[in-house]
Structures are given as structure tokens and as C-alpha cells.
Point group: C2
């Protein structure tokens, strides 16, 4: 059995923050904002517990994921899911429909950098179903 | 004696990259760009060897430092230097004159996020003299 915090204490550099309650996530996610919106680049430290993922969504200004720990997934609509590990970087194009989250058996931590924040907030779409998600290793 | 790479292998998440040769640094610095300029948010992984620091400078669009390892310093003109460790975040205001770098006896690693990149490149000024720098613990 995975003890999430036991794993995290060796790998999470930035504060884990509070549990983030949102209808746009399945499972438990923690969020700590590292910067505010005032400097033009909101950056959050996002920690997904095993099995947690967000719904399909898009960002009008794009987003950058900087993976700092664990094992997880990023998928763009119409493409195969890509497995992610510490040190991986994903540049998500403007308006690209996608989701990201942990593997079933692993926590997953990334910094989320909002690009061109003035373009507006994320557009949230349908969840990633258990049927889709459970096909991933 | 500090073996830089021995320490780094346990702490650096993103690639160390190549030695970055610049007249705006004293000592040895490594740079690996994690994103390009095309997404509007250039992000570099910057690794300072012990004693390495950059010259006083400013960013017309501001900059964010996300510290991932080691011990180092950030100083704004007219203020005391602030000691930095893994997990610290510095939001550098637009046009604020400042420098950053490693402690004398430690490597230091941070992500450097360029805010509002379209505002233009950094403005480089005078070096941080040995006299100033060596006062720091």
C-alpha cells in the first residue's frame, strides 16, 4: 500500500498546501500557489494523490507543467497519453484540450505555470472516465 | 571540500545543462532552458557553483525564482541580502536592481521564470564585488 506522505517527504520541494476541492478533479489533489496573479505569471504547486486526475480542459493562454516528483500522465485530445516523471516538462498549447494527473499507483507532483494569464481562465469540460483512465498502466 | 556534482545528483530535478559563459557572472554557472520563448514564458534551470553570482541587473518584465536546491542569496539594491534554500520563491519586481547566486560554500539551484517577456531583455549593471560578497556568511 502506498503511503502518500511518506513518499512525498523525500521529493516535494515546495509546500504541498491544502486539499483543493473542485468538481473538476476525480480523487484528492493538493494546491499551493507560489505566486499571485500580480506579477503576471501565476504558479501553483499541484500534488495529485494516486488515481487523481483533472477533467479534460483547455487554457486560452497555454500552460507549462514542470514535474518535480512521482509518476503521472498528460494527454492531449486525439493523442496517446504520455507518462511523466520528475524532470519532465510539458508545454501545453493555447486552447489544446487535455488532462493531467497521477498514475493509479503513484502520487504525482508538478508546478503549473499559467502562460499569458490575461487571456482568461481555463475552460472545463467532461471528466476522464474510469474506463479511459483504467486502461493506463 | 565540496564536490558539486556529488551534492547535485541528490537534488537537481531538471537537467543541469551546459556551462553558461557570460561576462555577467563571476564563477561557474550552468544553464538549461526548459521552455523556449514561443510560449511566452521562458524558464531556465540555473545552477551556480559555490561562490558564483551574477552582476547587479534588472528585468523590465520582472522575474520569479523557484529555488530547488542548495544555499544562496538574493539581494535588492538598498536592502539586506536574503538567504535562500530549497522551496523558497522570490518574485522580483519589474525594473528592480538585484543580484542572485550561491553561497561561498554551497552550490545553489533555481528555476528562473521570465515574467512579461515581451517587455524586453535584462539590463546588466556592475558586478557584485568580492568585498561585498565576502561579507555574507
Amino acid at each position: 500500500m502506498i503511503t502518500v506522505n511518506e513518499k512525498l517527504e523525500n521529493s516535494v520541494i515546495f509546500p504541498i498546501g491544502e486539499v483543493f476541492v473542485s468538481e473538476n478533479f476525480i480523487g484528492t489533489v493538493h494546491l499551493h500557489m507560489l505566486t499571485g496573479f500580480d506579477n503576471g505569471v501565476p504558479i501553483g504547486n499541484v500534488t495529485f494523490e494516486p488515481g487523481c486526475r483533472n477533467s479534460w480542459h483547455s487554457h486560452p493562454g497555454g500552460q507549462i507543467l514542470l514535474v518535480t516528483g512521482g509518476r503521472g500522465w498528460y494527454q492531449e485530445w486525439g493523442q496517446d497519453a504520455k507518462e511523466l516523471h520528475a524532470g519532465d516538462v510539458v508545454s501545453i498549447p493555447k486552447n489544446a484540450k487535455h488532462w493531467h494527473g497521477a498514475a493509479r499507483d503513484s502520487w504525482f507532483v508538478h508546478l503549473a505555470v499559467e502562460a499569458n494569464a490575461s487571456a482568461g481562465p481555463a475552460q472545463w469540460l467532461e471528466p476522464v472516465s474510469d474506463e479511459e483512465y483504467n486502461k493506463l498502466p
